[in-house]
Amino acid sequence: MLQIEKGGLQTTIQDLGRRGFQKYGVIVSGVMDTYAHRLANILVCNGENEATIEITLLGPHVTILSDCIFSLTGGDLSPSINGVPIKMWRPIFAKKGCKLTFGKPISGSRTYLSVSGGIAVSEVMGSRSTYLRAEIGGFKGRALQKGDIVPIGESSDSINRLIDKYTKEVSPASFIQADWTLQSLAIPHYPSKSIVRVIDGRQRTLFNEKSQDNFLNQAFQISAESDRMGYRLKGPKLALKEPTELLSEAVSFGSIQVPPDGQPIILMADRQTTGGYPKIGEVATVDLPKVSQLKPGEFISFKEITVEEAQIAMLEERKLLNQLTKAISLKLKEGI
């Protein structure tokens, strides 16, 4: 179990989202950065859909109440245990009593904390993701706050053997971290100017030539009103050839909608199921983690690719994750 001593800016329990209920208006939710979330789980031998804790910019203070193996991936928010800085992207064994805290955001904006066995809150509609607005899922349907005791699930046998081993070797309230990490190409960088690939939006041709051109050739700044629902961008005004009223239709994670003020919004994990604004582009699924890690004030620009190229990139990412899963589970047989 984990005890929350301080909630942080927005710390929520998420998995890969609530699927199959969008036709009832139930949003998908789930993690913003699926890549970092999946790897956090892979590093502790969890299934990729196990719930993790998504930590945003100002992290929580957490006391570990039972010996466990955990990992941190995603943005670097200066994590430390008992005041000693710890490394990310690797398994860490921590004994009961360890205090996990976060400090200054160094790069990116979201860290994922995965504990072997997964965060064991109960599922609502097939998912453990927190749906803040409807107050369901996660921990009582809300962000974590001081005093919460977060349950952890049962680890696999091999992880349990490791925990038993290190429990004997490590002194009370102490920890050890793996001296290995992932191959460097598997660890993303989170630059403050990001180029993300986009597919044609369904209504791209409704925009005038200049706007279509600006969309692909100008940088946009992430505004302060960006959150899990959407990233609002500031940049050249994108305008339609002529005013057009559209009927609402489904939107997806990464749809780039343009409301009448001409400033695009990238729809993120907590987006509504449908929308009526024209979509100029769609962020490629593999590049959504990059967007998720951008902070207000940073910059994004778009580069066009085809659906085919985007799908090939998805399959390549899947291949990489499968390879890493194999390699890590072998490595963990020897120890962390």
Binding site: K23, G25, T273, E282
Partner: protein, 232 residues
Amino acid sequence: MEIIYSPLGDDAILLEVGHKLTKETTNTVRSITRLIEEASIDPVIEVIPAFTTVTVLYDVSTTCRYENIKGLLEKVLVEMTELDQIEQRTIEIPVCYGGEYGPDLEFVAIHNELTVEEVITIHSAGTYEVNMIGFAPGFPFIGGMSEKIAAPRRSTPRLRIPERSVGIAGLQTGVYPIETPGGWQLIGRTPIDLFLPHEELPSLLQAGDRIVFKPISEREYTRWGEACNASN
């Protein structure tokens, strides 16, 4: 009716049957949704019907790329006939109009030069149809309201609209299943829940349902709430 296929990002395909909301497009959307759901196509994750479109989310794999899913859907939809009639359910929604539950009822009356009672009579006499569910969990976009009681949205949206509020915006009427901010004119409230997160079907209403609003008194409203609490 012709179906136009287009990608929505890299993991969804959108089927469009027209640009206008008509009886025909509504029925086609419903038939397509039903056929795809009944076909249980392996890579399909979920189907999202809207006004004139149906979106299908799918699992991208080496054997299921955009062209593959398009082929699979075309095969399923070959069997669709225009005459495919779908049974409609009729669902009664009790509403306590006015008072603290409907703070804007009077505005709607004045705006349309009607009495409050007339607004209630017109609103509850209509037969409505759910065009789609969206915006919020279980939130129905309802067509068929009389233009005699149409009213513009509030110029400043309320930060907090209580759950189960019944409202009017332009020619639309609807019910807020959960507490959200919103700009609709509130004319009443229903004691029944539209969002049911712990039921197998999390939404009381589905696209295609007929809706009837039934006026109830404040006493009936309170009793309804008590009866629900007792049964929980």
